[in-house]
């Protein structure tokens, strides 16, 4: 049963030029995405900078309005699914307690002038949860759950290190007792040893509270470790989706193969054959015709330059947007065995 699903979701940003700020074009950051997240799973959303993964994550929570598409939130327990994009602002605010987000940068996502207690209780007040005393109790409880001392409520963000601030960010997301948490690069700005602490915390919380995660990251090794399923994004579209172990073992899309082969592993002496991509990703302002990946793809044929491939299922549970997907025989992530 999917907790959240999106159909044909698009986020286009207008490009304005000149004195009159006329719209001269659009950046198609997210361009027709179908996605569903099952209750209790961790779905990884991976891609390189500018691929639209953060825009997609934010649109799913209606943090900005999608240009088109439908998002269904399934409150479960026999309730009818709710079309999020159609909700009036007040109803949406009440629904937000079920869907929370943790941002990448723990320095800029906490208001420096608010004590941690206020930062944690204010959103609860806006969602109409509990009395002031209840909310403060809740703040102390979630701080405890993320391994922070209860006296943190009366302190300011600058008194904490990056890792501690990210714990506070996670506590804030937990406070309204959500079903779904979107984690937008939550460990990318943390040092290795602290990153492992936060990843372990996220796993523990999920097991204890039955949370559903959408984990957005550019880091394949973290995605592989934490996620049940992975969706790979390239230039606003999902090019491949499937269960983590299978996707890493035998990717279906040439872009996934290239990502996996570029992954640096902390093992000496793997001088592996790399699938190097030519050039850089094109700008999402001027997407290439046909398959957006074709200018960098080593398998590109005439058909790829003309016709954009749809994301379709090839093997049970696995989908790829490639005309030649199942036949390419692509290499998976390097393992110790092949080293």
């Amino acid at each position: 049963m999917s907790l959240l699903s999106a159909t044909d979701l698009a986020v286009h940003y207008p490009i304005r030029r000149g004195v009159l700020q006329r719209v001269v074009g659009h950046v198609r950051a997210v361009d027709g995405v179908d996605l569903s997240i099952a209750a209790g799973e961790t779905l990884g959303l991976v891609g390189e900078s500018g691929c639209g993964k953060s825009s997609l994550a934010r649109a799913l929570l209606l943090l900005h309005r999608p240009t088109r598409g439908r998002i269904l939130f399934n409150g479960g327990r026999g309730a009818t699914p709710i079309a999020l994009a159609r909700q009036p602002p007040r109803a949406l605010r009440r629904l937000r307690r079920h869907m929370q987000i943790v941002f990448q940068d723990p320095y800029s996502s906490l208001n420096p002038r608010l004590r941690i207690g206020q930062a944690l209780t204010e959103p609860l007040r806006a969602m109409g949860i509990g009395t002031a005393a209840d909310r403060l109790d809740r703040a102390r409880a979630v701080l405890d759950a993320v391994g922070m001392p209860a006296d943190a409520v009366s302190r300011f963000p600058h008194e904490f290190s990056g890792g501690q601030r990210q714990r506070i960010g996670i506590a804030r997301a937990l406070a309204p007792e959500p079903r779904l948490i979107v984690l937008d690069e939550p460990v990318s700005s943390l040092d290795v040893s602290v990153r492992a602490q936060v990843l372990t915390l996220l796993q523990t919380l999920q097991q204890r509270l039955g949370l559903t995660y959408l984990f957005v990251s550019h880091d394949l090794s973290v995605i592989r470790y934490l996620c049940d399923r992975v969706a790979v994004m390239y230039l606003g579209r999902i090019v491949e989706a499937g269960p983590t172990a299978e996707l890493f073992r035998s990717p279906l899309h040439p872009y996934t193969e290239a990502l996996l082969s570029a992954l640096p592993l902390p093992v000496a002496g793997i001088r592996r054959q790399r699938v190097l991509l030519r050039g850089d990703p094109p700008s999402p302002m001027t997407l290439p015709r046909g398959c957006a990946f074709h200018p960098r793809c080593r398998f590109a044929q005439d058909r790829c330059r003309e016709e954009a491939p749809a994301l379709r299922a090839h093997i049970a549970g696995r989908a790829a947007a490639c005309h030649f997907a199942p036949e390419l025989g692509l290499a998976g992530a390097p393992t110790m065995a092949t080293a």
Binding site: S49, V192, A196, Q203, H218, L220, P264, P266, A268, M336
Partner: protein
């Protein structure tokens, strides 16, 4: 083994703060050899970047070299960089000519108002007295060498017209322009996407093989270390805690900190076995420690660790670690 091109002896870096001098890196020794890459790894604040800057005498007040020598071996003379004035003509002759640097963020390291060709040509004109036209022509060759398509057009581009990966290639072209003996690269791929990072690491390896430079590579990423380094130095709070050839360090780390770093990484076989994070966090540098810098986070700490700095234990001819527990184990 060849004589080192650059030898760092007892290098210590300090910062002046509110009239007090605070030591950020404790006496550090290492050597760089031709055609070899030494990586310094560590987390933020361990002193790896200031060590890199010190090699080019680029520390600015309140940072300064507190003690030690940085010996650069030329064809027939040895120069102590640490003894030169940072702004002196002698230092300027070394910088860019003998030792060159690639920075993490090419957008701030490149000048936005000059075409990239002129920026590459600048070093050639300054150090090799090339006339402008010849230097620009050489810049085109260098751009081609670092894998930029249509270099004769790109040479006139400004930095903002290039992608992040191309800018980093320009920085590398600039660094290798005068065929330096030593290349210092400070997190050169950290700001790049993985597919572009793979391209840049391959490029650096190829260039080193063809030009024979000694390379010091600063990074926090043990995966990148595995790709690029011959030897590895692990730093923690301004101290070298372990050093070894790359295969020994990643395959058989001995210092509890290095072991903790590797146990903090997701398993490379894709298994979901739980991570073993290092508890706690790095103490700020102004909390002066008398004993081992890692004592507060170490699961093998002994009573002696809090009070006396650990001895450097030779584990093999090329592998050493600074740790009381290892010393006692013999």
């Amino acid at each position: 083994m060849s004589a080192p091109v650059l030898q760092v002896e007892g290098l210590s870096i300090a910062v002046r703060r509110e009239g007090r001098r605070l030591v950020l890196t404790h006496p550090t020794n290492f050597a760089l050899r031709a055609a070899q890459t030494t990586a310094i790894v560590g987390e933020s604040g361990c002193g790896k970047s200031i060590t890199a800057l010190a090699l080019l005498n680029l520390l600015r007040p309140p940072l300064s070299i507190a003690a030690g020598r940085i010996l650069l071996r030329g064809d027939n003379e040895v120069q102590d960089i640490a003894a030169l004035d940072p702004g002196s003509p002698a230092m300027r002759d070394v910088r860019g000519r003998q030792i060159a640097m690639v920075f993490q963020d090419p957008m701030t390291a490149l000048d936005p108002v000059y075409p990239v060709g002129d920026q590459i040509a600048e070093g050639l004109r300054r150090h090799l007295n090339m006339p402008r036209a010849a230097a620009i022509e050489r810049a085109v060759t260098l751009l081609r060498q670092v894998g930029i398509a249509a270099p004769e057009k790109r040479v006139a581009d400004y930095p903002h017209q290039l992608s992040g990966g191309m800018r980093q290639r320009v920085m590398i072209a600039m660094a290798i322009a005068c065929a330096p003996r030593v290349l210092v690269a400070d997190e050169p791929t950290t700001a790049l996407d993985v597919t572009v990072q793979a391209q840049i690491l391959d490029l650096l390896r190829e260039l080193q093989a063809s030009l024979g430079m000694a390379c010091l590579f600063i990074t926090h990423d043990l995966g990148v270390v595995a790709e690029i380094a011959d030897d590895v130095i692990v730093m923690y709070r301004g101290t070298i805690v372990e050093r070894a050839p790359v295969a020994d360090l990643l395959g058989g780390p001995r210092h509890p900190y290095t072991q903790g770093l590797l146990a903090s990484l997701p398993p490379i076989d894709g298994s979901r076995r739980s991570l073993r994070p290092i508890p706690g966090q790095v103490r700020p540098p102004d909390e002066i420690a008398t004993g081992c810098p890692f004592v507060d986070r170490c699961d093998r700490a002994l009573a002696v660790c809090a009070s006396i700095p650990p001895p450097v234990v030779a584990l093999s001819a090329s592998h050493s670690a600074a740790c009381h527990a290892l010393a006692m184990a013999g």
